[in-house]
Symmetry: C2
DNA sequence: TTTTGTTGTTTGTTATAACAAACATATTCA
DNA sequence: TGAATATGTTTGTTATAACAAACAACAAAA
């Protein structure tokens, strides 16, 4: 009887929250989309009550904006907001990397090397979706090594806010190749116990990616998806 | 007709959230207190629906912990968690102070000087509650000057998490006098446009306060209110 | 043609009832 | 007396209905 798993029924609003969160993080919602409670409830097959809880939670986390009429909308990310997010991310993730370098752990370092190898092969295979997934794991493996849960939690929040823009990166290969250097350098610095270098590399990684994204902004400072090459001129 | 003000009715859950938030920030809830929806609804004179929204939001912000049975409880702050919070606060608030020094604004600087003077007089008058209020305004006037809203928002979140412990400080005078130096020094650095010095002073202010608070922890790492002098031995 | 008023729909807000899990208390049986 | 069971209470969860504000579409009047 020991093979039976513990029965735990997660609340509906928790499931709804998880689904919305993943969708946002993967950039599956276009910025500016208004999420209505009743339509979400219909797609989930529940009443609006659990959906309301999930949306309330996401708004509280700053992942969803509340527009007029308290409607929850997928936020547009202006160039200015991206710059602000970059500042916060550099402060938090740089500090996390520095802390990680002062607390190196064998198991984590091993996972990081494996992730790095996998990322290189995924770049070669041009499978970007999977790359981004491992890229995320690589960063957070470092941050987790810092041993400061609140730090990791706050960083996660910032990544969620970047979610809607992440899909912009997917069809691009340039950023990945540029960021590659910083990843290996950061890991090397952590192994060497050089906190300052680790912080420098992570900050450079974030800054360069943001600088690239900022180039995609139009005159109004609004970030837009790059047009696919097949689009008519 | 120009004297008429805009009519705006704020939702009940927003009012409930504001009240709970203020109470938490002022440390009016003892750590470990379980907040039940129905009791809160009764004190607010509403149904449990708006209260539920407010509590959900606070839990999402990390201000309230969710205990077993998804109950919302005012979190205990262990010494370890206080140390973690200090790391995050130093990274964020230090950065904000540095940014503020690079974007000095006359109006804000004037308000800061006024706040500093008021704080000194409040210390002399031994009115601690009012001092803490102005102390808060002083810090956030600096952070707002950074011009990075997301940074300010995140810092606010960290202060909310420290809320339950804040009341521990109220009966103490030592911390205030110790921290006073750093406040004037930080403001002087900002006026001089010395970002590095401003960051250093703010970090020192946070660190010293945390170090003092950490001394109040018992063997289990649990922070406790200092016993009033009239307590029996 | 433009503006104004009306109507119907959409949508977030709030209250309420039913529900289930957990806990505390009382009761019963050995 | 002590353990097991039964019962009642508390509490978060969910669905549903009523409500009001906002928006859109259409009709009527200048």
């Amino acid at each position: 009887m020991t093979s039976l798993k513990r029965i735990e029924r997660e609340p509906l609003w928790d499931l709804a929250h998880a689904q919305l969160r993943d969708a946002l993080l993967a950039g599956r919602f276009a910025p500016g989309t208004v999420l209505t409670l009743r339509s979400l409830a219909e797609t989930f097959g529940t009443s609006i009550t659990p959906v309301r809880d999930a949306v309330t939670r996401l708004v509280a986390q700053g992942v969803l904006q509340q527009g007029p009429r308290n409607a929850a909308i997928v936020p547009h990310l202006t160039r200015s907001e991206l710059a602000d997010l970059t500042i916060v991310r550099c402060a938090l993730e740089g500090r996390a990397a520095r802390e990680a370098a002062s607390r190196p752990q064998a198991a984590s370092l091993e996972r990081l090397h494996a992730l790095l190898a996998k990322m290189q092969s995924l770049i070669a295979a041009r499978s970007l979706e999977s790359y981004l997934e491992h890229h995320r794991k690589f960063h957070f493996e470092i941050y987790a090594m810092s041993g400061v849960p609140i730090l990791v939690e706050t960083i996660e929040n910032m990544w969620l806010r970047c979610g809607p823009v992440l899909s912009f990166v997917i069809p691009e290969y340039v950023v990945l190749l540029k960021g590659w250097d910083h990843h290996t350098a950061a890991l090397k610095a952590i192994v060497a116990g050089d906190g300052a270098a680790a912080e420098r590399e992570i900050v450079a990684d974030i800054t360069e990616a943001a600088q690239y994204l900022s180039g995609l902004a139009d005159a109004g400072g609004q970030l837009r998806r790059p047009m696919p090459e097949t689009a008519a001129g």
